[in-house]
Amino acid sequence: MTADSTLPSDMAPQLNSRAATRAQGVRRFKWTVLSPLIALMVFILLPAFVLQGYFSFFSFSIFDAGDDTSFLSYFRASEWVGLDLWKDALTDDKFGFAIIRSLLFAVGVTVGCFVIGFALALLMYRPFRGQGFYYIFFILPMLTVPIVIAYTGEMILYQNGPLNDIIGMVTGTRSDAQFLYKQEVALTTIAAMEIWNWTPFSFIIMMAGLASLPKEPQEAAQILGASKWRIFWEVQLPLLRPVILLALILRFLESMAEFPKTWGLLQGGPGSATETIPVYIFITAWQFFDISYGAVLSYLVLFMMMAIVMSAIWLLRREKKSLDAMYETKPQEG
């Protein structure tokens, strides 16, 4: 971290005294600005990591501490179990299912948001009468608080709620479908709410992406007689790749971490139908107070997510580099 050169490389050889003071100033500025971030990472996040590590090898549940709830009592009440908990976690079926559920949920939500968001953006990115009106409405779901959506969703989906009424009106027969308290559909319903909530996100990114596309390649293709489809597939889509990746990656990561709807509404139920990773960890650590097992699960999830996040970041960086290269060769406008 210290080796970072703070000056553009072409200035380095001719470091006269003025440049040196300047570099010093920049360095001082850098560490001043970074200090709160570093302080929080060292005093809050780092101890949390260490504690988590400790408790993953020393078994401890809040119950072990009894009446004594002081911090040190946690250590006195904990007991060395080595890798036992790690072995348990790796053979824990419920944990495995939670991972599968989370992955399915995240993939479904990501694809759902993207397909709807992109389709809407394609229909809307060229100016037309009413564009602003639709845009305002379409971003609304993102501005409603997730937990509010969860509870409002329940009011709508409940058996005697308006959704069943509307289905009844359309089909002509009384519908009393269960959308939430039924194992087979619960996770799908939550996913639908999540899609409703976050389609605006994909929509906004794709709108911005489409609006920023350079016009020349399209015009050139048009002059050469390419059909609209071909222009879309072979000109627009490749240019949109970075934006598409961004929309997919961010949405995937956020839905892996989804908690307010799954927990707030169904607490992992019915049965364990909505027990996703966050819910399972929550139940372990906060309902069964099994801090140690929760710590092991958290570490495993952390490793998994780090691997995913790091590849995501690698992908994003690669795209950004190719974009930077593309825009450097062209004179910048405006």
Binding site: D4, V33, A48, L123, V145, I147, W286
Partner: protein, 300 residues
């Protein structure tokens, strides 16, 4: 058989309005339902067929939730009198907490984030790799650290405090603050700063009088964007608060577990109160929303 060009254009326009209007209904219905339920008297909350727009609209729910009024109603079949107590709920206190926490955290985040962004934009104080690593603070799901943090917080006496939540909100929103404000700062032409410097202005004066006025609206957009994130945060607020520092989303979730059973009208009245500020904020920055998460991928 073959349509003329203008026919095709008209049918495309019709198709577009059809699809967009369908989605408009999908988007608007839940919001409409929330608002409409908040005005329903309690016998209509669970009525079948559902009541779409109440003919007996009432402010009862708002008064019960936000006012200091205990309300009761008479069950029409049994004649039983039901009283709804107002007191697990302290919405004004929760509103105060939410406002305080999100405003302080957002201010800090944008303050440090934008200064850092300036440093990155002008002096490359962080390499691009580090800028992307910064994103990890946001991308790793908070659930994996919240248990040890709560233990560590209880040792430090930070559990159930405003400071405790502010620090974590600061950390988790900083990446967005840096990236978003950088996108605005990058747009300020360097020539203007150089000109000011040649005219003898100091570094700080240049930033204060040349750069800041040009990025002001961008910083406001960044501020509001992050305010949306901190205002609606649920997980950390739920797990790191016990009794004192309850934020609005957590307050709302208390209704779900309340012993009185479902009280849709009350929940809706509270929900409207939570959502309204965000919608106002979102409308103000609607043109800038895309920047919040485009990380330099969208060029204009």
């Amino acid at each position: 058989m073959a349509m003329t060009k203008s026919q095709r254009r008209i049918s495309y326009a019709a198709f577009r309005y059809l699809v967009l209007t369908f989605w408009l209904l999908v988007v608007a219905f839940p919001i409409f339902w929330m608002v409409s339920t908040s005005f329903k008297p309690d016998r209509e909350w669970f009525a079948w067929p559902p009541v779409y727009i109440s003919e007996n609209a009432t402010l009862q729910n708002y008064l019960a939730v936000w006012g200091d009024v205990t309300t009761h109603s008479v069950d029409e079949q049994t004649g039983e009198i039901k009283t709804y107590a107002q007191s697990l709920q302290r919405p004004w206190q929760a509103l105060g907490n939410s406002a305080l926490i999100s405003v302080i955290a957002t201010t800090l985040s944008v303050l440090f984030g934008s200064v850092l962004a300036y440093g990155v934009s002008r002096y490359q104080i962080l390499s691009e790799g580090r800028m992307f690593q910064l994103l990890m603070l946001r991308m790793v799901p908070p659930i994996v650290l919240v248990a040890p943090i709560s233990i560590w917080y209880s040792a430090l006496g930070l559990l159930d405090t405003i400071l405790g939540l502010v620090m974590l909100y600061f950390l988790t929103t900083l990446p967005y603050a840096v990236w978003m404000s950088k996108s605005f700062i990058d747009e300020v032409p360097r020539e203007m700063e150089q000109a000011a410097e040649i005219l003898g202005a100091s570094r700080w004066r240049t930033i204060w009088e040349v750069v800041l006025p040009l990025v002001r609206s961008g910083l406001v957009a960044t501020f509001l964007f992050i305010l949306i994130l901190t205002w609606s945060e649920y997980l950390l607020a739920l797990l790191l608060s016990k009794a004192q520092i309850v934020t609005l989303p957590v307050e709302l979730s208390k209704y779900q577990g309340s012993t009185e059973g479902r009280v849709y009208g009350r929940q809706a009245a509270l929900s409207v109160g939570i959502t309204l500020p965000l919608i106002v904020v979102g409308m103000i920055i609607r043109k800038h929303l895309a920047r919040g998460f485009s990380f330099g991928m969208v060029r204009r």
